[in-house]
């Protein structure tokens, strides 16, 4: 199917608001993620359920400083059966109004569950105005706030917002359990996950959240190097000199934000930040501030994990940077003078060899096992 480059605007009155979500910016269509509707494919699950709960994590994930990042609520721990159901739902196009789009259509495993396109195509062909961020290690965002503007207050609430969004999946949530009940295998999946076959939106949300929390990346070259060292600041024996130099530069210049709180496992930012991407407070995306209307939040955006960042391009909330080099150039320049720009965003003036070393280090955060792990893959064939 040919994809229109111009955003399609729905004509019904209830979705006129979508006009402001579309954009005139160039849209990258280098890797559209078309999938056949789930109803045209066969659900294939392994005879023995994949292992999602109680992962065998490396030591640096188990230290107190790292464990406290875990946002798993007591009433919704990850179970093998719950995450299995979540996996099926994640890839089921029946979650969209016209059976064309699944969560996995935009959150692509080999791209760290980000969209390789700058903007994502919704169920009717319209495009979002933000990049679909990666879903790596969302379990370890201690504030448990999600989306670039943090409007999702926990994973259980967040997962249904794109499902009912009029541009993204457009589903009438009260009807969703009815639609899913037409697939006979869901009864058994819900029974295994929750004890009985009742399908509710709450259960859909909880199982999707379990699946997302099970997506933990911990087998990168960095993790292997750290396992053989006393600390991240040591030279890693499995790193090249350039990677070790990049690591040193990262720890000195980037870790305050991206490897925070005296731990060495989670490359996430605790809080949203204004990084000086724009200096226009009127027309540029206000991020968190557009949701809260709090002046200090204007231009603040959440940051996803840097794990697997190599394959999660394009970068930033609007996918404006196509390469890691462009991202580093931004921080090297110190960004634009937005009134809320964070004090940490200072011109770093990286030299060319420093930039190359930083990129080399960031690529050590790639976890090929995670990116190809069948337990996170599309179960519809």
């Amino acid at each position: 199917m040919k994809v229109p480059l111009l955003a399609w605007l729905p004509s019904v009155a209830s979705v006129l608001a979508l006009a402001s979500l579309t954009t005139d910016w160039p849209i990258d269509v280098r890797a559209q993620t078309d999938v056949l509707p789930s109803t045209a494919r066969t659900l294939r699950l392994p005879e023995v359920t994949y292992h999602y709960a109680d992962l065998e994590l490396p030591a640096h994930f188990k230290r107190d400083a790292a464990q406290r990042f875990d946002n798993t609520p007591r009433d919704n721990p990850v179970t093998d059966q719950g995450a299995t159901l979540g996996r099926v739902l994640f890839y089921d196009t029946r979650l969209s109004a016209n059976n064309t789009i699944a969560c996995g259509s935009c959150h692509v495993q080999k791209h760290a569950f980000a969209d390789p396109n700058r903007f994502s195509r919704g169920f009717t062909g319209g495009h979002t105005d933000r990049h679909a961020m990666n879903l790596v290690n969302v379990r370890y965002h201690p504030r448990a706030r999600f989306f670039w503007d943090e409007r999702g207050h926990n994973l259980e609430q967040m997962v249904l917002l794109p499902v009912e969004n009029h541009l993204e999946m457009g589903t009438d949530l009260p009807q969703l359990p009815v639609v899913l009940a037409r697939e006979p295998r869901y009864a058994e999946l819900f029974r295994q996950a929750f004890g009985d076959a009742e399908i509710t939106n709450d259960r859909i949300a909880r199982s999707l959240a379990q699946f997302l929390r099970s997506m933990v990346s911990y087998r990168s070259k960095y993790d292997q190097g750290l396992a053989g060292a006393r600390a991240a600041s040591d030279e890693f024996s499995n790193f090249t000199p350039q990677e070790n130099r990049g690591k040193a530069l990262f720890l000195r210049n980037c870790s305050l934000c991206h490897l925070p709180e005296q731990q060495e496992a989670h490359f996430i930012m605790i809080e949203p930040v204004n990084t000086g991407l724009d200096d226009d407070t009127e027309h540029a995306d206000g991020g968190v501030g557009d949701i809260t209307l709090v002046p200090r939040d204007m231009g603040h955006f959440k940051s996803p994990s840097l794990r697997n960042v190599e394959v999660a391009s394009p970068y930033m909330h609007d996918g404006r940077f196509a390469t890691l080099e462009a991202v580093i150039d931004h921080y090297s320049s110190g960004g634009k003078n937005h009134p809320n720009k964070d004090v940490r965003i200072q011109p770093l003036h990286f030299t060319d060899s420093e930039k190359a070393a930083l990129v080399a280090f960031l690529k050590t955060l790639t976890d090929p096992t995670f990116l190809a792990d069948p337990k996170f893959s599309d179960p519809f064939e």
């Binding site: 130099r245 040193a248 000195r252 005296q262 809080e271 949203p272 209307l293 009134p339």
Partner: protein, 316 residues
């Protein structure tokens, strides 16, 4: 009003000095004016630089039909809940006044349990990093061969010895007209102490706003001396000049790199120069809780103190 993007907090806060008084020392003033340390962040919970006017201007830019009201169809879907939140006159839309009311409503910062917002600043101003340690770190990051690293370290050490001696001599000369002979000796001793780590004092203000003040041993000495206000002001200004002198300027970096011409490659010198030009940042790990150190480059810096586990609100 727009503020400079790099403007940092400088405030005068009334604080009670909690330092111990040594026998024979001058009396400690019960309440003194302290200069607050310049920690700042755009992070939630701290001072804002964008204003409610900015928010109103931003929101009303969505008013496509220019009728002065934001209807649901004019807002992105993610922002439409704002109408239910702020529609005071129940007309199904938001006007500028209603937007402003939301923007000015007091809000609590969002924090995760056990984590603390903001508190970022320059490590050299916080006393967590000296130019000497900054140079050493930059040399470490170059990944030099051991022998080259030692030679470069020796050059850097001699350079810093000279810089510190020059700055110290200037400070003592500046203070000659302000302090008496005994006070000059005390200050000289404080100056010669290798441990220049600062200490925290937190004071609770009216309306429960709490402000953090950082003090170093040199300022502590000045506070302990009985001085007239003008003398104290002059002495503190001299200390500020001393600290500024210890921060590497362009000429200092050039002077440091000159003797390394034959030791380092052109690329290594370029990288070293770039690294030296960066000011290290630090997160104050002590805000809001009592801990034994601060996080600097992933390492704990010992010697921090907090008075009580309360959140710090810094004002601009």
């Amino acid at each position: 009003m727009r503020h400079s993007p790099v403007a940092l907090i400088m405030l005068l806060a009334s604080a009670a000095v909690v330092a111990a008084q040594s026998p024979g020392q001058n009396r400690i003033a019960p309440a003194i004016q302290l200069q607050a340390f310049a920690f700042d962040s755009g992070s939630p919970g701290l001072a804002s630089r964008a204003t409610a006017d900015d928010v109103v201007t931003r929101l009303m830019s969505f008013d496509r039909d220019q009728d002065g009201k934001l209807s649901p169809s004019e807002l992105p879907e993610r922002m439409q809940p704002l109408i239910a939140r702020g529609d005071a006159d129940f007309d199904g839309a938001l006007d500028a006044k209603e937007v402003r009311t939301i923007a000015l409503a007091p809000t609590a910062p969002v924090t995760a349990r056990g984590f603390h917002s903001g508190g970022y600043g320059f490590a050299d101003e916080a006393g967590f990093s000296s130019s000497r340690s900054h140079i050493e770190g930059a040399l470490d990051d170059l990944g030099l061969a051991q022998e080259t690293r030692q030679e470069a370290g020796a050059i850097a050490g001699a350079f810093m010895d000279a810089l510190e001696a020059d700055a110290s001599a200037n400070l003592m000369k500046d203070l000659e007209s302000v302090l008496n002979a005994a006070q000059l000796v005390e200050l000289r001793n404080a100056l010669d102490q290798p441990d220049q780590i600062r200490r925290f004092f937190i004071t609770r203000q009216e309306n429960l706003a709490t402000r953090m003040v950082l003090r170093g041993p040199l300022e502590m000495k000045i506070e302990q001396f009985v001085l007239k206000n003008e003398e104290k002001k002059e002495a503190l200004a001299a200390i500020d000049r001393y600290k500024a002198r210890l921060r590497l300027a362009d000429a200092d970096r050039a002077a440091l790199l000159e003797p390394m011409k034959t030791l380092l490659t052109g690329e290594q010198r370029e990288n070293l120069q770039a690294a030296l030009a960066r000011r290290p940042l630090v997160k104050n790990g002590a805000i809001g809780r009592v801990v034994g150190g601060a996080v600097f480059m992933g390492k704990v810096v010992p010697g921090m103190e907090t008075a009580q586990p309360v959140p710090a609100i810094l004002v601009r």
